[in-house]
Structure formats: C-alpha cells, structure tokens
Symmetry: C2
Subunit: 141 residues, 2 copies
C-alpha cells in the first residue's frame, strides 16, 4: 500500500492513498506549524480506532446485536517525556445496543479485533488496553 | 493525546483529535465497507509521511535551502500474506530545490527525522527504509 504526501508549505502535507481520500496534516502552532490539519500522531490513533471499528462492527453484525451507537476513544500515552512514540494506548468502546446484549460477546469481538484482525494494532509497538462501556455500564472483565 | 471516533454506520468512523480536524475512515468494498473514507492503514502511512515531513522541512529551513517541492511516498509492506501489520515501510523523499543543495545534508535531515524526531516512526514496529530523489537524481548513500 502506497500513500503519496505533497508538501503544502510550512509543516503541512496532503496525503492520498488507494482510497482516493486526501488527509491534510500539520504541526500544531506549539510545534512550529499552523494547526491547519490533523496532527500526524492523531492519524495513528484514528487509524487504530477506525481499524478496530471495522472488525468489531463486522463481528457484532454477525451476532445480530441491535447496535445503536458506537464511539471509540483511543488515548495514546508515552512512558516518559523523552519517549517519542506511543508506548501505551487505551481503547475505550462506548456501545449502546437495545435488547440485552451479552457484554462478554462484545468484549470478545474487541479482543479478536485487537489480537487477530486489526492491521493497525499489529503495526504498532504500543501495548493496547481495552475498556468497554456497554449501555453506560463498565464491563468488568 | 486522545482521538474520538464516532460510528457512521457500516464500517465507517469519523475521528477527531485535539487539532479539531475530522478524518473519515472506511473499509474498501473488498473488505466489506463502501470505500467512503480513507483506509485505516492509509492513515498510518499518511501519519508517518506527515510526521517525517514536519522535522525534515524544519531542518531544511534552518539550512536555508531553497526547497521548491517535496513529495513523500510511503509504501508499506507485509512480510507474508498472513502478517497483518506493516513489517517494512519505504519512505521516498522527492525534493526539488534550486541552487546546488548538498544531497548529504538533505539525507541527514531525513535520518534525523526518522531516528530522533518523528513520533510516528518511533511508534511503528516496521523497519523503515529511506530513499532520496533530489532534483530527480537518486542519492547514492
């Protein structure tokens, strides 16, 4: 898979891959840019959430759960200030579903996604921690 | 850093981080989506190119080189079909600059970016290979 990024001046780049959807990145003002685009590290987290979302929605669809809302929060952390890359990422799934969906099944979908199906999680060095809020209730594994 | 991704139906998510710039992802039709957004793995490559672009443009600016065009190609590969994540990413910088810029200095900026400054490369498992085309000529390291 190839992505081509064209310099837009300053710290900004416009990147396009096989999908044809262009994504603009920029550094924040704090880091010498103008904030006229997503921060590159945001794309890593957006890619992780979007990727896990693909397999989780697929598995939940097959389980015939009546999912009404999914929000995924991906929070990347660094061990120390000096560490450049993410060392730990917490991925929180907030899922609302009608009926009485078994939390264990949703949790299993999240685990399968992270461990087996998601190419982004497999590409990252960071340890990934999962959390599920199903209809507002924290699933206690 | 936290990114929040809201399900758009199907395999699509809309992700927003601290920058406020929203990025839509979707799976391709081949992977059960509708291709109505960037593929999550494209965001990894766009993040890497955008991130290396930030530090490379910064360093080149300090070097007072008259850079006219920068295009970065990031191509992710997997060792085998069974491997989910990227195992190798080639990052090609195509830079046009007037005057007679010393290729070694541009190359050094790319190396510094990859090894020291870029948070995305530090977050990825993949080995990263660099290539420089300066004014159309391959720099032979």
């Amino acid at each position: 898979m190839k992505v081509t990024s064209v310099w837009q001046g300053g710290r900004s780049f416009l990147s396009t891959g096989p999908s044809g959807y262009a994504v603009k990145t920029d550094a924040s003002a704090e880091h010498g840019g103008q904030g006229e685009g997503a921060a590159p590290m945001e794309l890593v987290l957006a890619g992780l959430a979007g990727c896990m979302g693909v397999s989780v929605t697929m598995i939940l669809e097959r389980s015939r759960l009546a999912v009404e809302r999914i929000e995924i929060e991906a929070e990347g952390r660094r061990t120390t200030e000096a560490t450049q890359g993410f060392t730990y990422i917490e991925v929180v799934f907030k899922i609302d579903a009608s009926g009485n969906p078994p939390a264990r099944r949703v949790w299993r979908a999240m685990e399968l996604s992270m461990e087996k199906y998601c190419s982004v999680s497999a590409s990252l060095k960071a340890d990934i921690g999962l959390r599920l809020l199903l209809n507002g209730c924290d699933y206690d594994t």
